[in-house]
């Protein structure tokens, strides 16, 4: 009995449903947040924020993925998603798609460039 007690929060009476203010239902699909979505803070931390929100805003000074945030906070991804949704709706952070795989110019453009170079 005492062993799991040690393993489980050594000093925090918070429960997860308080952290998310009761909304366990994350609108994951609607906001399109997934594990690899990168989160970047858009504003400075603001004293009125909940500590979790504040921490996320502070640590997302540099882009972090949702999975990373979840690991650093040792909170389940769903909880983090709820917190991020709050922050997104208030404009404190910004979500952006992960790695720009589609950022390469398309083949048509490359061919045009090639032809252009050959024509020089």
């Amino acid at each position: 009995m005492s062993k799991p007690e040690r393993a489980w929060d050594p000093g925090n009476p918070d429960r997860l449903y308080i952290v998310t203010k009761g909304c366990g239902e994350s609108k994951q699909s609607s906001t399109g947040l997934d594990l690899v979505t990168l989160i970047v803070a858009r504003t400075e931390t603001d004293p009125g924020l909940q500590p979790e929100h504040e921490t996320i805003v502070r640590m997302c000074d540099y882009p972090l993925s949702v999975a990373e945030i979840s690991a650093y906070l040792t909170l389940p991804v769903s909880t983090v998603t709820v917190l991020l949704n709050d922050l997104l709706s208030r404009g404190h952070v910004e979500a952006r798609p992960p790695v720009p795989v589609a950022a390469l110019p398309d083949v048509g453009l490359l061919e045009a460039v090639m032809h252009g170079l050959q024509n020089l």
Partner: protein
């Protein structure tokens, strides 16, 4: 027997004289008559007179004797009456002493935890036998003490049974909470399961609070114990997590202090009970405000609702409940409609030195103030509250070169802190908000703003510049007659 005093001795000659009067008078009369009557009847008259005198003498002596007896009897009677009165007074005093002194002292000692024999010996020692009724009183006291102790034993065993059951429930609830937390971690990726788990978690916390309440009323400590100080913010969130309507509670500014380990659970529990009262007795659409401020004697936790408020009658009742904290566990509290809240709060207040007051609020409801004494308050190790469990923050990262291929340059690439330098070559820190404002405005940034920015960006903008020149060349235009101008343009567009 008691009549042989000194006063009868003094009075006896008088009474003995008195009884001689009638025979003497009769003897004188007889002599006189015998002298006066003719000689023929003198002898019979003398005889008769003598006989009468003797008879009167006997009668009067008897009467005198009886009078003496009556007198002595009366005296004895008076003495006995006095004795009885004295004894009655003594008995009154002894009974009074028994009622007002001995029994209360015995009860006091019993409540202090003394054994029955000990109490009887201390309250009515055998050496006090000289006082009247001591033995009887000892018997009475022994009887009462033993009866009371038997009752107390019965009550104690009931308490212990309740506390025992509560402890078991607490253990199960705690185990379940641990399991739920593990499941929450495991199923964090599946929102549907996760939200159900949160729901279950909440229900478990409510059961845990009920078990804690019963344990507290049974004279035990509430729930688990915490070793380290916990920030007040987390303590109050812990309190919120244990009530039904936690969504209605607004946690406002909280003093940046921590509660020492032994005080955490009592504060959580007392605050939870007060919050529960506040949410229960106010309309469901109203909010309950929770704040905590530091005061001279500790920390004041204020809970304000917008409910119906306290009528005078309610106020009297709550004050009574709060005042009767030492009355102990009343099984009536667990009756048909359990009203544990205030009783639990008052028990906790008594054990841990909290002060509780319920007063009308400006919102029309009740403003409950729970003052936690300074002994239980300590400095907070983590200002602003601990973030969900021990949060390990990412190591501070050094910004890489601005040219690093991040997906969407303008928002991400805002003013790298390392890249900008002052005219002296020293790194210059820039306020992010300023950059934000500049970006939000997106119109011709002031030259002073852009000067340090364009310098580091000159390297990465060149390929774009080149490409721009190339595309314009591709379109067949002149190859960028004015380089300086075009170098400004793309950066502005990007901004």
């Amino acid at each position: 027997m008691v009549g042989t005093g000194s006063s009868p001795q003094v009075r006896r000659p008088a009474s003995s004289l008195i009884w001689l009067v009638p025979p003497v008078v009769l003897a004188v009369c007889t002599a006189t008559a015998a002298l006066l009557v003719p000689l023929s009847v003198r002898t019979p008259t003398a005889w008769c007179g003598t006989a009468a005198t003797v008879a009167v003498a006997l009668t009067s002596s008897e009467a005198a004797r009886r009078g003496r007896v009556i007198n002595s009897l009366r005296r004895r009677c008076a003495e006995q009456e006095a004795t009885l009165r004295r004894q009655l007074a003594e008995q009154d005093a002894a009974t009074k002493r028994l009622a007002e002194e001995l029994l209360p002292r015995a009860m006091e000692m019993l409540q202090g935890g003394a054994f029955a024999d000990e109490v009887v010996r201390a309250v009515a020692p055998p050496s006090s036998d000289s006082t009247p009724y001591a033995a009887e009183h000892r018997k009475i006291i022994r009887f009462v003490v033993e009866t009371v102790q038997a009752e107390e034993g019965l009550r104690d065993s009931a308490h212990r049974a309740f506390v025992n059951i509560a402890r078991r429930v607490q253990a199960i609830v705690h185990q379940q909470a641990t399991d739920l937390r593990e499941m929450e971690d495991r199923h964090g990726n599946t929102p549907e399961v996760f939200s159900d788990l949160l729901h279950l978690d909440h229900g478990t916390a409510l059961i845990g609070r009920l078990a804690d309440s019963i344990a507290v009323l049974g004279g035990s400590r509430p729930g688990r114990q915490w070793k380290n100080p916990i920030p007040l913010y987390n303590v109050l969130r812990g309190a919120m997590s244990r009530i039904m309507d936690y969504r209605r509670v607004d946690l406002h500014s909280v003093a940046d202090v921590a509660i020492t380990g032994p005080g955490v659970e009592p504060v959580i529990h007392a605050a939870a009970e007060l919050l529960d009262n506040a949410t229960r007795y106010s309309p469901p659409e109203t909010r309950v405000h929770l704040t905590a401020v530091e005061i001279q004697s500790g920390v004041a936790i204020e809970i304000e609702d917008a409910g119906v408020g306290l009528t005078d009658e309610h106020r009297r009742r709550t004050d009574r409940v709060l005042a009767m904290a030492d009355r102990g566990f009343d099984l009536d509290d667990l009756g048909e409609t359990p009203r544990l809240g205030l009783a639990v709060v008052s028990r906790l207040a008594k054990s841990y030195g909290f002060r509780v007051s319920l007063r009308p609020s400006a919102y029309g409801g009740v403003r409950a103030v729970l003052i936690v004494p300074a002994e239980l308050v300590t400095a907070s190790a983590t200002p602003g509250g601990e973030i969900a469990r021990a949060a390990t923050l990412p190591p501070p990262k050094v910004r890489k070169k601005p040219g690093r291929p991040l997906p969407d340059p303008p928002p991400a690439m805002e003013t790298p802190a390392v890249g900008s330098h002052t005219a002296n070559g020293l790194p210059q820190r820039r306020r992010r908000a300023l950059g934000m404002a500049a970006r939000a405005a997106a119109v011709a940034p002031a030259p002073a703003e852009t000067a340090p920015r364009t310098e580091p960006e000159s390297e990465p903008t060149q390929p774009g510049l080149w490409l721009a020149a190339f595309t314009s060349a591709l379109k067949g235009d002149a190859p960028a007659g004015d380089r300086g101008q075009s170098s400004d343009d793309p950066s502005d567009e990007k901004e």
